[in-house]
Symmetry: C2
Subunit: 302 residues, 2 copies
């Protein structure tokens, strides 16, 4: 178990992703390094008003504390009060073009040390995943994204993709809308199966497969002609993204409620969002097809 | 204790407010009546793309159940599992003109009956309040709004205004921004002081003082000339409104997580919202004055 190796991987992953996205967009990401008063800090890389990306961020953070708050360990109450550290890379991209989907990636590592003076081993786990949220759905995009998710996981065992795909469908679900956030992907948490090397390598693979999963989709949709109608629908649907992240996402809520760096956490929110009362697309329109054909759990690789 | 009288008051209040707002705006509110599968229902009155109001709603709801969920009674765990009913009027108005403030009113009544077969009295309380959220602050508006809040409460005792004003400042606070939502107003909950008649009359008075507190402000700001700069700042600041309602507001969260009517609950969200990374107004601008002069607890009637 070696947190330094995880940190090195995460920092390299952030660089690699930002460099590639800068190539695609043509506009550089800004870079903000920040410290956390209670310990640790992070590097926020962010783009706004890019040529392709209307708003997006790639955050690295490494934070630690002397006593783990009970809210952080709902699943493992025995860890409350222990010294801890957490590190991760979090990414959300909101392209300007409504035909290009929003995407999310997260890879993280968590470690709780034995209580001061006590014997015992550290407890650690990995978590992560990626998922995609289209405004106008394309089957080939969903299939491509999911096959890259599968490719990331298959070397570690054939069960991981179906298991983590289901976990993603369950996690990224807006209960108050009875609606999935998008076409899913993969999600996992509390993962230490097979020991550190196995769990770390799997997480590396998830991170490494983000660019090949998403960039081809972004590149093929970014120049699609669109008008006010599509922009309007995109702004409306982005409201769902806000609702999920602020109402249901455990990471966002824990960050905001525990004194995390607000501007880095909320880089996940879209640049322009609209709410409209009880709006429904007309049956048969491309907007309606998002709901009927894409916003439901589907086996994209069947 | 008579819930029917409360219900009658709430329905009349909704009508009265909507009629007056329709006069001000010139566009009628739509009317949606809805039933809740588990019992009860409501009447949603809503305006979008009005002449003065860009989006706003005045909800009445009356809901009930056989067993109160524990999450609804954090303060009074002894009530969990009892038959209950709740009713209220909730209002949020987002004017189009950035010089006109957003406003919120809520008055509500809650009642838990003795457990089936058990002896005892019903437990009941009132809650409510109103608060205002300017984008460009005006001292005279804040003073007017607060003096009407005080006028609503003073007949019931001189301590209510200062107490409920402080409660409002504490409740409508964005901890993750270390920032109040606006210039405050009054807020109270779990209120049964002085018996049913006293508590009901106080709540009636809060409801009745909403129009005189807000309409004069709306009328004097609604025609102020503005440009893209002001609209942009309004959209940015509306993001804070979304953050508060979705992350911190107990009523919104309870409603969304417990199967409330999503579209009625989320009528509180603004029509167009923008998020921008780590943005700060330039010192000395009118936008900066909102932060320095208005977004802090102040005794407006000193």
């Amino acid at each position: 178990m070696n947190p330094d190796r995880v940190k090195e991987f995460l920092l390299e992953l952030q660089e690699l992703i930002v460099e590639r996205l800068e190539q695609v967009d043509g506009k550089p990401f800004l870079r903000d390094e920040w410290q956390r008063p209670e310990g640790g800090g992070g590097i926020t890389r962010l783009i706004e008003e890019g040529n392709v990306l209307e708003r997006g961020g790639v955050n690295f953070s490494h934070v630690m504390g002397e006593r783990l708050p009970p809210s952080a360990t709902a699943h493992r109450p025995e860890l409350a009060g222990r010294p801890w550290e957490a590190m991760g890379v979090s990414l959300v991209l909101h392209p300007r073009n409504p035909y290009a989907p929003t995407v999310h990636l997260n890879v993280r590592f968590f470690c709780a040390l034995p209580a001061a003076g006590a014997a015992g081993e550290p407890v650690w786990w990995f978590g992560g995943g990626m998922d995609m949220t289209p405004y106008y759905g394309f089957e080939e995009d969903a299939v491509h994204f999911h096959s890259m998710c599968k490719r990331a996981l298959d070397p570690f065992g054939p069960d991981y993709y179906p298991r983590f795909k289901r976990w993603c469908d369950e996690y990224f679900f807006l209960k108050h809308r009875n609606e999935p956030r998008g076409i899913g992907g993969i999600f996992y948490d509390d993962f230490s199966e097979g020991g550190f090397e196995h769990a770390f390598n799997l997480t590396e693979s998830v991170g490494d497969h983000f660019l090949p999963a998403y960039v081809p989709i972004l590149e093929r949709r970014a120049d699609t002609p669109y008008g006010e109608r599509e922009r309007d629908f995109q702004a409306y649907r982005r409201g769902r993204y806000v609702e999920f992240n602020l109402v249901w996402d455990r990471g966002t809520l824990f960050g905001l409620q525990s004194g995390g760096r607000t501007e880095s956490i909320l880089m996940s929110l879209p640049p322009i969002v609209k709410w409209r009362y009880d709006w429904h697309p007309e049956p048969g329109t491309p907007e309606a097809r998002l709901y009927t054909d894409f916003l439901k759990p589907r086996d994209w690789l069947a």
